[in-house]
Assembly symmetry: C2
Homo-oligomer: 353 residues x 2
DNA sequence: TTGAAAGCGTTACCAG
DNA sequence: CTGGTAACGCTTTCAA
């Protein structure tokens, strides 16, 4: 018992005392380390005498024992960590995805290693190495601009990964929304308001999302019997500035549009800003709709009509899928497609002309 | 050489082949594992024959060897990981802090484990355990509502940690801005515009930041010889709704204020929203200033005047301090206080009455 | 029901 | 300059 007491004093002493190991604990409890391990891992198959268990648990309390995760990980070949890669945490699209993932993972006893790739392929690759070095057991990629190369490398390595908000031909482990259908829905809505001259600022057309949203737009117009006008479609880059630039060009046309379907909220916001400085009123002179429904949509004036993407759900679903993969369920599951919803606010109205 | 070739074929085969260890590598290179280790760790003191080095490096390429981080960590007693705790990633105040920290840490070869505490003391405590279990080497706490208990426990344990945007008596390892001075600056500015009836929606008064900003406000008024009016100060909780509630009460007063100094941007935004629905024009009828300058300040209409807090810098400085701590520099450093700047936008103007 | 021993994949020390 | 060997702290057979 003196051992225990001494240790306690040591603990009070504080600062950087040697870590308590299973060994110390076993000595204090008067049993073998392996027995301690069994008790601590709640091994239900092996039965342990009640009194022994008691003694061990007491010792744990006494010594404030916490197992060393690296030793355990090395032995078990599991780190209990997941890597989550995002292109830019500051982009309001991602935090909720992270939140959703964190919720599911922490519930399952996994920790989250966060990586901001800044859309840099090298950084991205560094995180693949992390997987190979057993730092993480799986990877969640929320990086839309990802080099396909990375995805292919992961597939080749045969390691567990899931794609968030992005599809890929080589896998079915991804969670997305149907961008085409959602975009089509917004187009339909604008048509329903009475608009005929509807423009579109797209995302980069080398991204899946950019393309799909453009397709949805075209589909909506076609269904309404509205002729496609090339000058009404401008390729942007998902950032504010290109939305502003687009609107400036559109308003110079002989027949300017009465509505704008932007491929994301930032583009819409940029467009709104440009309208303000040009003295064009939204929605009276021009209706604007965005995509993603990031938090600021409801904060700007006029509040922005947008497509709600269930980001929290997306993060959670992706995490669950990855967990499935990790538990070795080899059953090939199909991609997960989540539903969207058009949130109508104040930036859209019937055309006044 | 056959071994190497075989391994290569195995690699092409892909899927879940056994990990390559230092042993395999040593065999292929025809040297002892310890020699490989020396070469790979770039030990400059020990000299290695060029040809040996060459052979080893070739083998690394050949086998695509990546060291096992857990084995290394166990041996070296270092995980190369830092835990970063935030109360809520979705709060726009935090992403940039995370970004700054990530930048510094990844440069230094550390990885970031992200923890969302949701202001839940239990979760917070779970992350302290992570430290004790050697998962992370240090902790960065960006949680303003943190129980003091946690900080004290960390101090007692003698482990490396740093506080972000929050001071604490028991330590000098924190990075903050001078909230009082910044708040005072905004008050001075409003006074300078000609306002005399200036109200304040504070943060929770059990937070350091909440208190300090209130003090700055009072100081500014006192310096201008403006009498303190109790009914002009309302305690909020840093969230939109309480900003709205506050403004409703303030506008019912016999002498409603002509300016509002909000303790953060969310409060200011809530106030702005309430003004809109009450038909009160900003800034003509009421000037509003916020605090933190989160990204949406420049996006709302009218754009919100606010105090810029160097969040990226804050994340970086905190990370650097933690790195210092980790490298065992025992030199007691003083707290880091970063400068702020008032960003004047469209939500503030001279009083019209 | 418990103990002993053999690793997990590294690194660091000591010989040679 | 390089090889052997003993840990790091834990889990998991295999015996007893």
């Amino acid at each position: 018992m003196t051992t225990a007491a001494d240790s306690k004093d040591e603990a009070r002493l504080g600062l950087r005392r040697r870590r308590v190991t299973l060994h110390d604990l076993a000595k204090v409890a008067g049993v073998d380390p392996s027995t301690v391990s069994r008790v601590l891992n709640g091994d239900r198959t092996l039965v342990v005498k009640d009194e022994t268990r008691r003694r061990i648990l007491d010792a744990v309390e006494e010594l404030q024992y916490v197992p060393n995760a690296m030793a355990r990980g090395l032995r078990r070949q599991r780190s209990q960590m997941i890597g989550l890669l995002v292109p830019d945490i500051a982009n309001p699209f991602f935090p909720e995805i992270i939140l959703g993932a964190e919720r599911v993972f922490s519930e399952a006893g996994y920790r989250l290693l966060l990586g901001n790739t800044s859309e840099d392929p090298e950084k991205e690759h560094a995180y693949v190495e992390l997987l190979r070095s057993n730092v993480v057991e799986g990877l969640m990629l929320a990086t839309a601009f990802t080099q396909d190369e990375t995805v292919e490398e992961l597939t080749r390595l045969g390691v567990p990964y899931v794609l968030v908000n992005r599809a890929h031909a080589g896998t079915s482990n991804y969670v997305v929304v149907d961008d085409r259908v959602a975009s089509r829905g917004t187009a339909d809505y604008l048509v329903g308001l009475g608009h005929r001259r509807i423009a579109h600022v797209s995302g980069p057309l080398y991204t899946e999302t950019g393309l799909a949203r453009l397709r949805g737009y075209r589909e909506g117009l076609r269904a309404a019997g509205i002729e496609y006008r090339e000058e009404y479609v401008i390729e942007g880059d998902f950032k504010e500035a290109s939305g502003a630039r687009a609107i400036e060009r559109l308003l110079k046309l002989d027949e300017p549009p009465t509505a704008l379907l932007a491929a994301n909220d930032l583009l819409a916001l940029g467009a709104m800003g440009a309208c303000r400085s040009l003295g064009v009123r939204v929605p009276q002179d021009l209706s604007i709709a965005g995509f993603n429904d990031v938090p600021f949509c409801s904060m700007v004036t006029p509040a922005l009509t947008s497509v709600r993407v269930p980001r929290l759900e997306m993060g959670m679903a992706s995490a669950r899928r990855l967990l499935d993969l990790l538990s070795g369920s080899d059953a090939l599951q199909s991609p997960i497609v989540l539903g969207t919803e058009l949130v109508v606010r104040d930036s859209t109205a019937p055309p006044s002309r």
